[in-house]
Every structure is written in C-alpha cells, then in structure tokens.
C-alpha cells in the first residue's frame, strides 16, 4: 500500500469502463475458447458432486470467478494511484462476469444458427445441450449471464471479505475438488486399509462426492482451516528460519517420515495406483537428473530423452533373449554396470561438441541430438542390432533372488524405482553442497566470471551432462525391465519436454520442488503415455502442460516449491523496499564504515 492516501472514487459506478470492458472480453474469450477446445463436454462425464456438478461444468465455471478476481485488482481508475478494495470491485466483477456469460449466450445462438463443425470439431449439438442444460436457449442464455455475473461478483468479493472467510471458503472449495479428483486414489487406499465404509460414504456409485458427504466433509475442512489458521505458516516460517544443526534435525525427521510413507503406503495400494506411483518415480528420476543439468549447471538440454533411450536399449540388448544381434542375457544388475558406462560415453560424446555453446544454441543442438539418437534406433541401418521399429521385446524382469521385479507386479517396480530415486536424491543433495555444485551454480550465474575465478568450466559442464545422463539411463533401464520391451517411439522428444516442464513447474534447482512437480504433473495429469489420476484430462494434457508452463513462467518463475534460497530472496526484496527510504542514511553509514576499516588496517 502506498503511503499517500488515495482519493476514493465518489461513486461505485465511477469506473475505468474501458478496462472493465477489456477484462469482460478476456473472460468471454476464455469461456468460448474453453468450450471450443472441447474440455467441458468431454469432462461432463466425470462427476465432482453427484448429479449437481461435473468436472465439465467446473472447467467453465471457474473462469468468471478467476477473471473477476484478477480484473478487480487490475481495473484502476485513472488518476487514482492506489486505492482500497471496495464495493466498486464488486461492480467490476459483476460486469466482467456478465459480459463473459453474454459471450456464452452468443455462442449458443451461433451454435444454433450455423454449422461450423467442419473446421471446429467441437461445434456440436452436444456442446449446445451442455450449455443450455437441455432447457432451451432462452433459459440457457439468461442462466449463463446471471451465473457469469454472480461468479464474477464472487471472484471480486474475495478481495473484500474478511481474511477468515476467504481462507475457509478457499479451503473448502479446493479441498472438496481435490478429494473428488483423488477419488480413485481414495478408493484404492480405503480398500487397502479395509475402510470401504468411508469410501462408500464419500463417493456416489457413479463417481463424485455424494451430497451428504459434500456437506459433512466441507464442514470438516472448514473447521480444520479455522483451527490451523496461521499455524501452518508459522511452522514453515519456523522451519525456514532454523539454522544449522536444528534445521538439519528437522529435515531428517521430515525426510524419515516421507521415506516411511513411501515404503509403507504402496503395500496398501492396488495395482493401478502402484503403476501410477511407479510412473511418477520413473519421471522423478529423469527430472532429478535434468535438474542437475538445467537447474544447477544452467545448461538447457532439450535432448535429455537420448540418455533415457540409451539406458533402455542397453538393458534391453543385454538382458533380453530376443535381442536381434547380440543377446548375452545378462542379469539386470550386471547390465546396469554397462548402462552406466554407455550413458557416460553418450554423455561425453554428445556433451563434448555442444558444451562450448551457450544458451539457445545449446538447446537447439541438444534437441537435434535427442532426435538423432531416436532415429538411429529406428533406422534400417541399425535395425539388425536394435530391432528398428519392432524394438526389442521379451526383456525379463529383475531377479532379486527373493523376488522378481516385473511389469505385472507394479508394486515391485515402484520399490525398484524408489531405490534409484533415493540414490538420485542423495547424489543431488550431496552434489548441491559440494565444490562441483558450487562451480555449477557459478557457471549458471556467469560463465565468464566463473572461468576467471579459475573454474574449469568445460569439465564442470561435462560432469553435469554425465551425471544427468547416468540418472536418466537408470530410469531407462527400469522402464525396459518394467514394460518388458523398448521401442523407438517410447523415446519421443515429448519426453524431454515434459521432464523439462516438470522441473520448471516444480522449482528449478530444488530437489523438493522436482518431487512435487513429478507428483502433480505425472501423478495427476499423467506422463506422455502414462495416464494420471485425472484420466479425463488425457486428451488435453499437453494443452494444460503448456498453459501451466506459460502461467508459471509469468507468475511464479521460482516454481511450485521455491527453494529456501528463492524465498529468502523474495523476503529480502520486501526488506529492501522498506529500507529504500532510509537509503541516504545507509549510504553515509557506508562511507564511515569503510573509512574505519581502512584506519584499522593502517
């Protein structure tokens, strides 16, 4: 808030109407885009609250709320520098939402009058029925304008209502939505824990929360949010402010809790959930590796899938009896040694020529190398050795003596992945604090100066490439053993890009962030071929990934889980702004202190 008191507009209609209109257009555009993308109709099948709310309607309804919320902070009357949030915000939200609803009404009229199905696949009677709620156009048009206006109003009112109300509402809404989204996980868990009654109480037979459970659980979450108010923040704050040994102790406790959860939880989960967790683990392993290359050393590697492929193919050729040219049928453990060797060699071979390039050039060249590796495995030239498009099949599972890890038993795969992830997390954690880790960060920040400090930038960057390559190859090896076959199509460029998105969205250069990123993106939305919890989003996964990436880069470039370093920085910026006014005083202190220092020296 500015120090200078702002003149309050005299009337609530005293608005910057051009801006209101602009936000209304944005709202309408977003609504129409959402409808024509096809998400609402497709997801109408998945219920959030039995009979009353489907995921499809949710994808439309959230837009006016969001736009209303954003718009009321953006529409500022000209000449008024800063102002308190007030009733005029409600007007903004109301109008913006109504305009959005109006656009939907227009869309309905258009849907009814013309047939544009040819270019626009989703221009369908289904969409019309969805929008009109099967109650005719007049009803639909009025309903949407009113709903839009009300939702816009609700969005805008978020700035005005007391903090507690805001907190409780958002907790209840997000809590209920997440519970409903996690339905299959809860199904699975409650079966494992013999708590079927809980599941039956919560969810309707056809999916979605039941009305009763919505009310009960909603109330419970509301109470919970009131009770925990301020405590979570205080706890994380305390954790952040801890120093040295104390912090280490807390970190270890947290880590042990997570480790035990990871170890025990899968026992209570069914096949599908374990499969999902194994996929999350595979991508986490990849993301941890890429995090070292991109997050720590700052080398934008877009061909990271190459190392994944090398790991997969090395395992396939060395362990499968069906390998077309050379089939030693080694044990997975022994094959792993060769996986490391080949990944290192590939890392060096790809790294050596490109490592001297900077930024964008490096990205483009690695992008090319990623594709080259895939095309080589696919080619007729190497077909006799790697099976070309037919790939290598019949890869045996991992025989551990007491158990065999194979794809039909996803729980065992998950434990194997967990083992590798643990190694990767340990390695990343140790490297971050090491001399090499510091050299990487210096290179990321300013390569020339790092060189001037005496850091051998070429070898440090190659090391980053190789460490990343080895971690990715582990993931590839496990994938081969899990799926039982490898094909060139398993190693599309999309894999590289999705891993990069995981790292960016989670929080670059931050292990916890990468973990959260993999769970949220791979677990909830799904990987390039692997379904996530929200299977309905399958067709829109890439769209959502893209939108999420753009949003994160604009609004939260530090990722979902900012590292302690990042949050410290943000904290300090606030502090510096406060200190700004005292700057003159600080500067004079400055001179004095330097002078004193000099005097002591002499």
């Amino acid at each position: 808030m500015s120090v200078i008191a702002a003149p309050v507009p005299s009337s609530i209609l005293d608005q910057d109407w051009r801006k209101v209109l602009r936000w209304g257009l944005i709202c309408g555009g977003a609504l129409i885009a959402m409808c024509l993308v096809g998400m609402p109709v497709e997801m109408d099948r998945r219920a959030i609250i039995e009979r009353y709310l489907s995921l499809g309607y949710l994808t439309v309804l959230f837009i006016p709320v969001l736009v209303g919320w954003v718009a009321s902070t953006q529409v500022v009357l000209e000449g008024v520098e800063a102002r308190k949030q007030g009733p005029f915000d409600l007007v903004t939200g109301f109008v913006v939402g109504a305009i959005g609803g109006g656009f939907l009404a227009l869309l309905m009229v258009a849907l009814d009058s013309w047939n544009l199905r040819d270019p626009l696949v989703n221009w369908s009677p289904k969409l019309f029925r969805f929008l009109t709620y099967e109650n005719g156009m007049g009803f639909g048009a009025v309903a949407w304008i009113v709903t839009g206006a009300v939702l816009g109003l609700v969005g805008a009112s978020f700035h005005i209502v007391p903090r507690t109300v805001r907190r409780v509402t958002s907790f209840v809404v997000f809590g209920l939505i997440s519970l409903s989204i996690l339905e299959s996980l809860i199904d699975d868990l409650s079966e494992g824990f013999r708590l079927e009654w809980l599941d039956e109480f919560m969810f309707a037979k056809k999916g979605g929360l039941t009305v009763t459970s919505t009310i009960v659980i909603g109330a419970a979450i509301g109470v919970l949010s009131l009770v925990t108010d301020g405590r979570m923040k205080a706890a994380t704050e305390r954790y952040r402010n801890m120093e040295g040994v104390e912090r280490q102790k807390t970190s270890i406790v947290l880590f042990v809790v997570i480790a035990v959860l990871c170890g025990v939880l899968p026992m209570f989960l069914g096949k599908i959930m374990n499969e999902l967790l194994a996929n999350v683990g595979l991508f986490l392993l990849l993301a941890l590796g890429l995090n070292i290359v991109v997050g720590l050393a700052g080398l934008l590697d877009l061909g990271y899938v190459a190392f994944f492929a090398v790991g997969g193919y090395t395992t396939a050729v060395l362990t499968s009896p069906n390998s077309p040219w050379f089939a030693p049928e080694l044990h997975f453990g022994i094959a792993l040694i060769f996986v490391v060797i080949f990944a290192t060699i590939t890392g060096l071979v790809i790294g050596a020529p490109v490592i001297r390039m900077r930024g964008d050039y490096l990205a483009i060249v690695t992008l090319g190398f990623g594709e080259i590796i895939r095309l080589l495995f696919m080619s007729d030239w190497l077909g006799p050795y790697f099976g070309g498009a037919q790939g290598v099949t019949n890869i045996p599972g991992v025989d551990l003596g007491f158990a065999t890890v194979k794809g039909t038993d996803p729980r065992s795969v998950f434990y194997l992945v967990l083992f590798f992830c643990a190694i990767a997390i340990y390695v990343s954690w140790r490297l971050q604090a090491s001399r090499l880790g510091r050299a990487w960060m210096a290179i990321r920040e300013d390569e020339q100066v790092a060189e001037a400090m005496g850091i051998n930038t070429v070898s440090a960057k190659l090391m980053a490439f190789v460490v990343g390559a080895v971690l990715a190859s582990f993931s590839g090896a496990v994938l081969a053993a899990k799926v039982g076959s490898v094909f060139p199509t398993s190693f599309m460029i999309l894999v590289s890009i999705i891993i990069l998105v995981v790292v960016i969205v989670g929080g670059m250069g931050n292990i916890a962030g990468v973990m959260v990123g993999s769970f949220v993106l791979i677990g909830v939305l799904g990987g390039p071929k692997q379904p996530g919890l929200l299977q309905e989003f399958q067709n829109f996964k890439l769209l959502i990934y893209g939108l999420l990436l753009v949003f994160m880069m604009l609004k939260r470039p530090e990722g979902l889980v900012p590292s302690a370093r990042r949050s410290r920085e943000l904290h300090q910026e606030e502090f510096l702004q406060d200190a700004w006014l005292q700057d003159d005083k600080l500067d004079s202190d400055d001179e004095v202190s330097v002078g004193d220092g000099g005097a002591e020296e002499q």
């Binding site: 020339q448 060189e451 051998n456 370093r565 920085e569 330097v594 000099g598």
Partner: protein, 244 residues
C-alpha cells in the same frame, strides 16, 4: 620500461600479439607490473584494454609473444594455474553471481584454494575491511546496492589471496559519489601492499592514485610513463582528460 631497482616483474607482457580470428587486437604490447605497484592502463573503446586483461588471465591465448608470471612463461597455462599463482580479476561491472548469496560469492573466490584455515582468515580480513559485507553475508548478491556489490566483488577477488589484482573498469556503472569512494578503496588496498593493475577510462581519477600508466590506442601502447608525467602530458590531456 621503467624497472624498479632491478626487481623481477610480477606480471609481464613481452611483445604480445593477439587475434580474434583475423582481427589483430593487441600489437606488440610490452607491459610490466612490479611488486607493490599500482599501475593503470588507459584507452578508449576498442583499444584492447579488456583483451589485455583476458590475455593476462589466460582466457585469450596470444598468437605471438610471451606472458610472463613471476619469471615463468605462462602462455600455455590455464586460468586456474594463474589464479592459483596470484593473479585475480575484478570484472567489469562487478558481475557478481547475482542469485548466490554474498557468502557463496566469497567462497567461489577461493574456489581453487584448499587451505581451510587460510580461507577463514582471509574471510575475517575482508570483514574487517568491509563490515557491511559481513552483515549481508546470507543475502543474495543481486539485491545489494552498487557500492556494496563493489565491495563484494573486491572481496571475492581478495579471497583467492592474489599477489596482483586486475581491475577492469572499476568505476564503470557506479554513481559519481561512489566512484570517488571506490578509488579511495583501491588506494587503501594498494597501501596494504597489493599490486594492482587497473584498466580505466576515467584517466584523471586513475592517474591520481597510480604509480605508472600506459595508454593503449587501437591495440598499440602509445604512451608509457609515470603517472605524474602522464597527467602533465599535453597529448593525453587533449585526447582524454579534456573530454573527461
């Protein structure tokens, strides 16, 4: 060259030529920095000042001539060797590792050192010299004010325990009040016995604290004299100080 009592030069250029591709940058440059001296290299844009520094530090290899460190020809030695043996640069515009903390920046200055006690000692020395740096230790370097950044940049360079400090345009990008303060700082470090080789555009200011100076013009040394003589030199006054 003005030798001082026959002492060996700490750092020396003997007829150095460098090329970037086909472009001839430094032309038969002779320089010598003797222990305890504060010398400056003056020159306009594109006269080869930065290349001189890069060549001294081993980031650019001369096409002919010799770079001599303490009597040893180091043409083929990497930057790390020269840093270990006492040559360190404070880069132009300070160029701290902005997203790393002040402490990490200082640590990176001592990247090639392994003597933990010595590093801790030097850290204390820097805190004595710049008490402000100690206060800001866990803060991101990018959030510091210009003056503080300059202190950290010098501190970072001192952390390698250099015998000669190369400074690339120390006054560039600083507010006028800070420029004065900065030169005072350099003078102080020099008074503590550090040899300093400074590249500057601000000729007047640089010469006022330097012992000797060279003027570089399109890659050739055109003037080489004591600081007082250079300050009095009408040619130099016309071409540099008049503008300044």
């Amino acid at each position: 060259m003005t030798g001082q009592d026959g002492a060996t030069a700490l750092l020396e250029f003997r007829q150095v030529n460098t090329h970037y591709g086909a472009v001839h940058i430094l032309k038969d440059v002779d320089l010598a920095i003797y222990p305890g001296e504060l010398v400056c290299l003056l020159g306009g844009n594109a006269s080869g000042k930065s290349t001189t520094l890069k060549t001294l530090l081993g980031m650019v290899t001369p096409t002919s001539g010799e770079v001599v460190l303490d009597g040893e020809v180091v043409n083929d030695k990497p930057t790390s060797y020269r840093v270990t043996n006492g040559v360190t640069m404070v880069p132009e515009n300070r160029r701290l590792f902005k997203r790393l903390s002040v402490g990490e920046n200082l640590e990176l200055g001592a990247y090639l050192r392994t003597d933990k006690d010595g590093i801790a000692e030097d850290l204390e020395r820097i805190f004595d010299l710049f008490p402000r740096v100690k206060e800001r230790l866990s803060q991101k370097a990018g959030t510091l004010s210009g003056g503080e950044q300059q202190m950290v940049a010098i501190g970072r360079a001192l952390m390698s325990r250099p015998r000669v400090l190369l400074m690339d345009e120390p006054s560039m990008g600083l507010a006028p009040a800070l420029v004065q303060q900065n030169f005072e700082l350099i003078r102080q470090i020099h008074a503590d016995g550090m040899s300093i080789f400074m590249v500057e555009q601000n000729a007047n200011m640089a010469l006022s604290i330097a012992d000797r100076g060279w003027v570089l013009q399109t890659g050739r040394v055109v003037l080489d004299d004591t600081a007082e003589a250079l300050l009095a030199n009408p040619e130099l006054r016309a071409s540099y100080l008049g503008e300044g």
